[in-house]
Subunit: 389 residues, 2 copies
């Protein structure tokens, strides 16, 4: 059953519209972690459900590396693909839009409506390219706090994020420790391991070595599609588990098919090869190579303990009840990294539940429809209702 | 202590020379698995130690993906880097050249002296490029059997190989089940998983998408160095363990250094990035991109059970005593794959010892100096002395 078939059964938020919010008009520009200034800054965002009178039913969702503001619903009646977390957001779903007001915005540095390297630099009237400042995970969350202020929301019912969304969430909790009742910290890490940096760095290398990259100034010509597709293919392998790849593809062959693998007499192409190539080709239609460079570097540079003695010290002011979730088959952010987070929260006496969820789908498990996972999410959100912030 | 410092302490085979053997002169060409014909075929090989009068002290070594015939010793007095398995081959070492006659040859399809896509096609007087036929792991071992015949050797004391060398060895045992007293099957697999295929396929994609690749016809112009270096970087990550990367690099930063990562204001470069880029750059100096395509495809296509009911059926004629070795931190060919081999050998009543060796160095562990590993190797080889073939 695919997402669109599930639409009717579980309810959908229906047709949604991306909205925009702008702040940091010069001379009051946004000052980034590295002291650069950026402005004006546009933030693309979507909201689902209705903000109640007390303005205490808002849930903020942070997206992952290649995500965007479009977390649920459809952009038009002909739109076949719902938002990226449509399995979880909608009437009757865990992030229940009959009860909660759900907000998701595109990060700065991205390419889906918020200001990023592909946006027009007002000073030059050309795309920023590499004149876009280096960003940090912290620089991603401050604009989202500005958005909350803009919406007149002072407290959040819950914050949730997986993967890089989880990193944003950890930074959110450290920067704004008393803003949220609950926090759902999913498939993430306090900092990248050398291996995770290594995978990202080969992706970046593939982009900057693409002759079309042209030092990031490619917006008026051919794009570094080869490099970006290679980066995506590498990333995609790390998002799946060996087990799920084995189940899905095994050693199955596509026969009698003209394909890239046909370059010599290599007429046998493995399904997994064709699948990865398809992933690479789809990705270049929707993502900007410079955004990929800036965002992956922000992820690799992220270390939530920077400026603190250790992880427990970083978490000492957090007031939110926390739900930490890892997946048994996630080898990109294995459970040990979630357990570190759990221990540091518990050292501070922060109410924390932890689940190492049994799933064969690897790092991407949190994006896959799973009835048990929905129940876990619903249960945690329900437990927040009794709490007072 | 590096390899060259260990040279004096443990003994070295000293200065060695690569030799050449040619067979399959037309019209008696070598018929490959896919029915193509190739000839003449050159095989580059090296030998260490002395073949005894009974010609029963020979050990055949099969090399891995990027290996070559130069397994031990030095090519000149100024040569700083010994052969790729110099830790194991030499006087007093496990493959003891005071006792054994050790043979290692470069596979066909390779680029280190044996006939491969970069060799001159006698029919056109130009490099084969993509007119080189698709090869299989079986096609790699038949020429090595021809070499044995050429050397007048009818039986082997032992055969040994790690990684793709282990695949050649499995094929050797199936094709020539009664030729060897012992077999050392190291860090390998009966067939590639979808994940292992996926990593190789992204490397191939990077090569064929390099504009310099030119459908494999690049020998007179610029080479597809970008693509090949990306392929190597991806491969290299899979050869190391997360643990060894963490110990070696962690999140260490190279500061104040002009580097690729300097493309924007990304002045912080992780050591692991710089290391991988160095690996990529070194590799392109010594390896041919087309060879990388042909050899990785042979690896991905390899399935030792092809033509048999199952693994045990494939192994039913094997007469060699077997030593199977996996490494605790090898995630490319994890222990489960070695255990499959062990079970299939034992079902056939083949005398087999198995070790899952505790090492933090990942797949490449078999190439790393380790005194315990040497003892394991020596012990197994000693146990063969009592056996009669």
């Amino acid at each position: 059953m695919n997402n669109s078939e599930k639409k009717n059964e579980y309810g959908s938020v229906g047709i949604v519209e991306t909205k925009y919010f702008t702040f940091a008009y010069p001379p009051d520009e946004f000052v980034l972690t590295n002291k650069s200034k950026l402005g004006p800054v546009n933030i693309a965002y979507e909201t689902y459900g209705v903000l109640n009178e007390d303005k205490n039913n808002a849930i903020m969702i942070f997206h992952a590396l290649t995500g965007d503001a479009h977390a649920a619903g459809y952009h038009s009646s002909g739109d076949k693909k719902p938002g990226w977390w449509d399995t979880m957001i909608g009437p009757g779903k865990p992030f229940d839009t009959d009860k909660y007001f759900v907000i998701c915005s595109n990060i700065i540095g991205g390419c889906k409506g918020s200001t990023g390297p592909s946006s027009i630099n007002p000073k030059t009237s050309r795309p920023y390219g590499l004149s876009f400042p280096v960003i940090s995970i912290r620089d991603m969350i401050i604009p989202q706090k500005k958005l909350l202020d803009h919406l007149g929301i002072k407290k959040l019912f819950c914050v949730a994020g997986g993967s890089m969304g989880g990193m944003q969430l950890l930074q959110w909790l450290v920067s704004y420790p008393d803003l949220s009742k609950g926090a759902m910290i999913i498939a993430t890490s306090p900092t990248h391991t050398a291996q995770a940096i290594a995978f990202n760095s080969v992706g970046r290398y593939a982009i900057i070595k693409d002759p079309n990259w042209n030092s990031g100034d490619y917006y008026e010509g051919e794009k570094p599609d080869r490099g970006l597709s290679i980066a995506r293919m590498i990333g995609h392998i790390t998002y799946l588990s060996e087990e799920s790849m084995h189940k899905k593809f095994g050693r199955k062959i596509i026969d009698d098919k003209q394909s890239l693998a046909d370059y010599a007499n290599f007429t046998k192409e493995f399904e997994v090869e064709s699948y990865l190539q398809y992933q690479g080709k789809s990705f270049i239609k929707r993502f900007d190579a410079n955004s990929y460079l800036y965002i992956t570097k922000a992820i690799d540079n992220f270390n939530i303990t920077d400026g603190f003695e250790n992880l427990a010290d970083a978490f000492k002011e957090i007031k939110a009840k926390c739900f930490v979730l890892s997946f048994t088959s996630d080898w990109l952010y294995p459970k040990e990294q979630s357990i570190k987070i759990v221990k540091a929260l518990k050292i501070n006496g922060i109410e924390t539940t932890y689940t190492n969820f049994d799933s064969p789908y690897g790092h991407d498990s949190f994006l896959i429809y799973d009835e048990r996972l929905k129940k876990l999410f619903s249960g945690f959100l329900k437990s927040l209702e009794e709490l007072v912030l």
